[in-house]
């Protein structure tokens, strides 16, 4: 599903440059649920951004669903992001003047679907996260957990092959975190491939595989016994 080899990335800082990723090799199969862990500055977010085509690697290969991701034009990157990827962010990143349904339907707009179809699909996914009756509320009228669920519904709307989550529970309390994780686990049970960046051990332990990064290289990559979030709820 996803294959990365010898990936390098550095950022210019003044005259020198900061080498963030120093040769990453990673492959993820369909249906996996992977946590990428590491302290801040370990390069875990950079790795996720490159996988998410929000950023470009300096060198190395990246193949997603048998499509080599290289030298993308802005337009191509936009199409791939829309087609392959669903994003879940720590700060939710909902558009604040659009209601829940409009936020969920936005990726479908960029897919070129008709309004009616967007509304239907948007409602379907809102129902999936249990927020159908909140469809016409603005993000400011929702709690943190609700916002993240709207964001998850939005990530699911375009039916992506890969869900990318950047600290999805980072802004939530423990109780809500577990609810969100339970939901993400359900998605994984249904077959979605999930890649998640986190620095919390208990959240990572709810994944099936943990990849640990330190100073831009993978120091550990192991399958673990998944802890079900439902045990805590």
């Amino acid at each position: 599903m996803l294959k990365i080899s010898n990936l390098h990335k550095s950022y210019p800082i003044g005259d020198s440059s900061l080498h963030v990723l120093k040769g990453i090799d990673l492959s993820v199969e369909s249906g996996e649920m992977v946590a990428i862990m590491g302290s801040s500055g370990s390069g875990k977010s950079t790795l996720l951004n490159i996988i998410g085509m929000l950023d470009e690697a300096d060198s190395g290969d990246y193949v997603l669903d048998e499509v080599p991701i290289k030298d993308l034009t802005e337009k191509k990157a936009a199409i791939y992001r829309n087609k392959f990827l669903g994003f879940i962010f720590q700060s939710f990143n909902l558009i604040n003047y659009k209601d829940a349904l409009e936020n969920v339907a936005l990726p479908l707009y960029y897919q070129g679907l008709k309004r009616k179809e967007r509304q239907e699909k948007g409602k379907f996914h809102l129902e999936k996260v249990g927020l159908l009756e909140w469809a016409h509320h603005l993000p400011s009228e929702l709690s943190g957990g609700q916002k993240q669920r709207v964001a998850i519904a939005r990530a699911l709307a375009s039916n992506p092959k890969l869900l990318l989550a950047d600290e999805p529970t980072g802004a939530l309390d423990t109780q809500t975190s577990h609810e969100i994780m339970e939901f993400i686990q359900q998605l994984n049970d249904e077959g979605k491939t999930i890649l998640m960046v986190t620095h919390e051990e208990d959240i990572a332990s709810m994944c099936k595989r943990i990849v640990r990064l330190k100073d831009g290289i993978i120091i550990e990559d192991a399958f673990v016994n998944q802890v079900r979030a439902s045990e805590y709820v």
Partner: protein, 409 residues
């Protein structure tokens, strides 16, 4: 292509940020308001100019004769040039369609009396075409016509003020007045916008005057209007050609300034059009200056908007928005704000002109207004202005990297 969803997005964005949209529109509205008012005032000034030349038709040429000042081909200087009906016929024959109207004139001073009232007026013996050239208006009765010329009738058409002077409160029409000892029947009373002097004037048929005063076919002055389709340069050339032909006819030295003189309104028209051009140019410069200030204003605010919406644009890009979709959102929003604000300015400006028009007349500004073509021109300018104003910010927005935008907390 009309994309309803795109418009929905744009209206949502404008609506969600009403204050911001209003503020950015304000500079454009103000620029267009100033432009409209300036343009209207400029037009008003031009109208005043146009009115300053309303006495006679503004395409007229007067032809005078005098004495030669140079000996030429054996003829002495100091010779008097006398026009006769022959010259009148010659001009009509020679120039045909180029002449719109033409009249000859015999000019005299007349002692005019009616019963006890008596006064001295200039009188002009004329052809019927004089009516159009002088831009007379008939108040009562009729003007001199071709029959009067053929029959040499003893009739007179008098100015409004002559009637007032001599007839006091009574009617002049149909009465007989005494001009230099002869009785003439008043067949018409005319008015003239050229001022009191033009209305203290008596007209009689040319042929009558020629018979009564000297029994000759002398003419003191010829007055014509050229075909209005000529531009001022053509008209000047036309006047010169008349003068040259007449000088040749009378065997006058071509460099003689005095023998035959031409008074061509085209010279004045040319000066007026130069002034008109200057005013229009000035209005345009100032107008464009304010418009550019407006464009810069909108552009600045759009750049600010892009900055403010950086994160949103990042989110949209992460969700699969292509650069062209981002460009259209920003560009169309900019154009829309510019057009709406611009028209608001235009309408307010027209309202101000309409409201202020009556009190401006004492400042030489008459009927200040803007035409439909100006409005259409303004619309096109506004669309262009909005596009210019939105271009840079839109370009900037489309280049935003989603990763940087999303990091921007």
């Amino acid at each position: 292509m009309f994309d309803l969803d795109l418009w929905r997005e744009i209206f949502q964005s404008i609506n969600m940020n009403r204050t911001r949209s209003l503020l950015s529109g304000f500079t454009v509205a103000f620029a267009i308001l100033l432009f409209t008012i300036l343009f209207g005032l400029g037009n008003g000034l031009l109208n005043t100019f146009a009115e300053g030349f309303v006495d006679d038709a503004n395409n007229s040429i007067g032809i005078w004769s005098g004495e030669t000042t140079k000996a030429y081909k054996g003829l002495q200087s100091g010779r008097r040039i006398q026009f006769t009906n022959e010259e009148y016929d010659f001009l009509k024959e020679e120039y045909g369609d180029k002449i719109e109207f033409i009249t000859s004139r015999v000019l005299k001073n007349a002692n005019v009396s009616f019963r006890g009232e008596k006064n001295s007026y200039p009188f002009r013996a004329i052809h019927p075409d004089n009516f159009h050239i002088e831009q007379n208006k008939i108040k009562e009765g009729r003007y001199i016509n071709q029959n009067d010329i053929i029959n040499k009738t003893k009739i007179a058409v008098i100015g409004r003020l002559v009637e007032e002077d001599l007839f006091l409160k009574t009617k002049a029409l149909g009465k007989y007045i005494n001009i230099n000892g002869l009785q003439y029947k008043v067949v018409g009373i005319f008015t003239d916008n050229g001022g009191d002097n033009e209305e203290r004037m008596v007209y009689i048929p040319l042929s009558t005057a020629q018979q009564v005063y000297g029994n000759n076919d002398y003419i003191d002055f010829m007055y014509l209007t050229y075909n209005p389709e000529m531009d001022s340069d053509e008209a000047l050339a036309f006047g010169n050609s008349i003068r040259k032909k007449l000088m040749n006819k009378f065997t006058v030295d071509p460099t003689d300034q005095r023998a035959i003189r031409i008074d061509n309104m085209a010279e004045g028209t040319k000066a007026v059009s130069a002034i008109k051009f200057a005013i229009a140019f000035l209005v345009l410069i100032i107008g464009f200056g304010t418009l550019i200030a407006g464009i810069v204003g909108v552009s600045n605010i759009m750049i600010f908007i892009v900055k403010e919406r950086t994160k949103e644009i990042g989110i949209r890009k992460a969700l699969g928005a292509q650069p062209k979709s981002i460009v259209s959102i920003i560009l169309i929003e900019s154009i829309l704000i510019t057009i709406l604000a611009g028209f608001a300015g235009l309408i307010i400006g027209m309202g101000v002109l309409e409201y202020a028009a009556p009190s401006l007349e004492k400042y030489f500004i008459k009927d200040p207004s803007v035409s439909l073509s100006t409005v259409i021109g303004a619309t096109i300018t506004l669309i262009a202005a909005g596009a210019i104003a939105g271009y840079l910010p839109a370009k900037k927005a489309s280049r935003i990297k989603p990763i940087i935008a999303l990091r921007d907390e």
